[in-house]
Subunit: 304 residues, 2 copies
């Protein structure tokens, strides 16, 4: 019989939410997170924490939830299973900095259980990752982010970084624009026990990556948050944020899933940027920093 990771992973994300929120407030120096506790009528609930109009962070959310009950019909089709009970818990965060030279970041770490009719665990898996979306490319920043990702992976398996870096590039692909949402990071899903990894191994891996989030992102924020910028940089950031919205609303499985299964809308859409622009057929100047970003996103590359 499979044993549950509820009692280890849920406390882990509770604590990770606290650590991340504290580190972000400290980096911001001005704004504080606003907390909303919510309950899901069908079972479970969450703790949403949102920061807005900070000195550094224009908008961001660090949410955790633990929900359970009967698997919604739409999720049955999605997972290819019959009627079943489920339990899902995770942390999900998106931070939109004000300064266009500071990248947006997203991270998510989650655990899922599906039960058989006897109430025993039929399937269980971990998933998650973290990825960076800059508006201007500073190669050393991207390399820093990926280096931390690789270190977190290498502690568990020499091939994990290459594998999950590639999956990240594939997943966050804005196919209708033929470009990546950002410069990637790690993406993994359906991490189940197999001949090489036990669930304990996956637990160690996922929490090991989660533990590195602050170190992967905040040094970049710290380095760029005081860089002077003009309204032209800001316009570019807002235009690019439009692509972020397009990805999340058109392609992101998690978002669409939440929207179509009656999730808590405000928690799901906290990922959307605060101020966004769409201009018709916007073009970048040749050899400009803006052109470099676009070129970089069209051809995902190795950063280490």
């Amino acid at each position: 019989m499979k044993s549950s990771f509820k009692s280890s992973f849920y406390p882990y994300i509770l604590s990770l939410q606290d650590q991340i929120c504290q580190a972000i407030e400290q980096e911001d120096g001005s704004a504080k997170f606003h907390e909303d506790l919510w309950e899901r009528p069908e079972g479970g609930g969450g703790r949403s924490r949102v920061i807005a109009e900070g000195a550094v962070f224009e908008k961001g959310g660090v949410n955790i939830s633990a929900v359970h009950g009967a698997l919604p019909t739409s999720m049955q089709q999605y997972f290819g299973v019959e009627e079943a009970d489920f339990y899902a818990t995770g942390i999900s965060l998106v931070l939109h900095p004000k300064n266009p030279f500071v990248p947006t970041v997203h991270a998510n770490f989650r655990y899922f259980e599906l039960y058989n009719s006897q109430g025993n665990i039929e399937k269980q898996w971990f998933g998650g990752g973290l990825d960076l979306t800059p508006y201007y490319i500073f190669p050393e920043d991207v390399t820093h982010f990926h280096t931390i990702c690789k270190k977190a992976c290498d502690a568990h398996h020499p091939e994990f970084y290459a594998t999950y870096k590639k999956r990240c590039d594939e997943y966050f692909w804005n196919s209708h624009r033929n470009e990546a949402r950002g410069v990637g990071g790690l993406f993994f899903d359906y991490l189940q026990a197999n001949e090489n990894q036990t669930m304990n191994d996956w637990y160690a891996f996922v929490t090991g990556v989660g533990d590195q989030f602050i170190q992967a992102y905040l040094p970049i924020v710290s380095k760029r948050k005081n860089t002077a910028y003009t309204s032209s940089h800001r316009n570019w950031q807002e235009i690019r944020r439009g692509r972020y919205v397009e990805f999340n609303l058109v392609h992101d499985k998690g978002t669409l899933f939440g929207l179509k299964t009656n999730g808590r809308i405000e928690s799901i859409l906290m990922s959307l940027p605060p101020q966004v622009q769409w201009r018709y057929d916007h073009q970048v100047a040749e050899n400009s920093p803006e052109a470099l970003l676009v070129e970089t996103l069209k051809n995902p590359k190795d950063w280490i």
Copy 2:
């Protein structure tokens, strides 16, 4: 053998595009449309006209296209047919005014032909409609818009207005927000010859509605475009524009269809508003004009 409406409907939309663009430029008094001609590699092309940063219109597009060739695989599934050639032509417009008291408007009139292996028309239909998305409710404006819609319908059938007004409310429903995108208008699709209407009847109906677009919308623009507004009104408009984006990217069949069938991205996404905001869990003050809008959108009603 069915006869084609290519030679009548295409010239009609060419002329309608000219009339509408001229009327809009006149109403704006400052900005002019920028025209892009584009070709579709697989057959056909279009004439996109976009207006930006006008005195009245912050962003808008009035596009026509006529495309043909082999029906893309994704469209075969969509229409429930096998391999076939097709022809599709139409006009599509969205106008986002600067002043929050002037509503956004959308209209679309289209014609479709599917051919059998002998190259004869197997199926043909018209579709389209027009709908209004205000940020503040002036009941007399909404009633004016619906009255013109009803007149255009009543000239053809006493039940058309009620039928297509209802379809419009149903189609432009932002289900994840449990509210309508706007205050509706008309929406019709797959208008095919039946025992009561010939294709000539539908042609007369669809062009009859198209002819009333200017009269339905521009008097409202004219009446409200000089109303003074504050940054608070403007914020509300930008927040509500977020709902417009959500509808178009999450629910609108035409948009998703274009994005997933390699359509011309800039023409498809010209519908997105120029400046948009997302705030976490934004609430409106009780009994405010903003609350009246939300209340109105949650319960579609009769305006005549």
